[in-house]
């Protein structure tokens, strides 16, 4: 690097600022923000599940008491709130995933399926696994 180049002043740039309407004033920003916010309800659900595993390890009485506590109105409201955001996260994750296929248009081969199918396929896979897991948890086949 030449001395003249090294001492050249940096190009002045404006400080970073949020786009107009961020975070909730425009639907694309809103979707993005809600998607990031899902981390909080999902972490709450995971913590509840780990506490449940702890109760399971403490014996039958603790397990039944923990299960009964989850059915109280306050806990149920929290779980339904978390479930709504978790579903939003999963469906959006699957739907956004179709753009990975779209990104390959160009020098690489185009996606093997129409784009909506590329979005529906992972969501269909998620729903199938959810059903299988609920059936296993419920012991409905045994």
């Amino acid at each position: 690097m030449s001395a003249a180049h090294a001492t050249a002043p940096k190009t002045p740039t404006a400080p970073a600022r949020k786009p107009s309407g961020f975070p909730l004033g425009f639907y694309r920003y809103r979707n993005y923000t809600i998607f990031a916010f899902t981390s909080i309800p999902m972490a709450i659900s995971l913590a509840c599940l780990v506490i449940g595993v702890g109760a399971l390890g403490q014996g039958e009485e603790a397990w039944q008491a923990w299960l009964a506590r989850q059915a109280t109105p306050a806990f149920r409201a929290v779980h339904l709130f978390c479930l709504a955001f978790t579903l939003y996260f999963a469906i959006r994750f699957g739907w956004v995933g179709r753009k990975i296929g779209a990104g390959r248009i160009g020098p690489l081969p185009p996606p093997p399926l129409p784009l909506p199918l590329l979005g529906i396929a992972p969501i269909g896979g998620f729903v199938t696994v959810w059903l299988v897991l609920v059936v296993i948890l419920g012991g409905w086949l045994s």
């Binding site: 961020f22 975070p23 923000t33 998607f35 990031a36 916010f37 899902t38 981390s39 909080i40 999902m42 972490a43 659900s45 995971l46 913590a47 509840c48 599940l49 780990v50 449940g52 595993v53 702890g54 399971l56 390890g57 014996g59 039958e60 397990w63 039944q64 299960l67 009964a68 989850q70 059915a71 806990f75 149920r76 779980h79 339904l80 978390c82 479930l83 978790t86 579903l87 996260f89 999963a90 994750f93 699957g94 992972p122 896979g125 998620f126 696994v129 959810w130 059903l131 897991l133 609920v134 296993i136 948890l137 419920g138 012991g139 409905w140 045994s142």
Partner: protein, 117 residues
């Protein structure tokens, strides 16, 4: 924050893996255990003996370690960026150290809880 930035690929691996795992299992776990766990629908499936049998076999233990652990790291990374989006770079250390610190705590608690089964 230098170390946090240096480890960015690690956070991204945990974030991506966590997202993938959560999409596949978390809605079912919330619905099946947290929402319907005490109902008659799940009474047989989540009886103490069966639940303990499911959770304490090697595959069950692996499942119960992998899902919450990756999930916590996923949530931590998303939380870090949520803090950045709302509060700017001033909140970056809180988002990073707070989020990843809680994920580390969650990992330790999860692993010790599951291994104690």
């Amino acid at each position: 924050m230098k170390l946090i930035h240096k480890l960015e690929p690690l956070w991204w691996i945990l974030f991506g893996a966590g997202a993938f795992v959560l999409c596949f299992v978390l809605p079912a776990l919330i619905l099946g255990v947290l929402v319907l766990g005490d109902s008659s629908l799940m009474a047989d499936g989540l009886s103490y003996e069966r639940a303990l049998r499911l959770a304490s076999n090697p595959i069950g233990k692996l499942f119960l370690i992998v899902v919450p652990t990756l999930g916590f790291w996923h949530c931590a990374h998303h939380f870090r960026h949520l803090m950045l989006d709302f509060f700017g770079h001033a909140a970056a250390p809180i988002g990073a150290y707070g989020g990843y610190g809680l994920a580390l705590l969650g990992t330790i608690v999860t692993v010790s809880t599951v291994l104690a089964l």
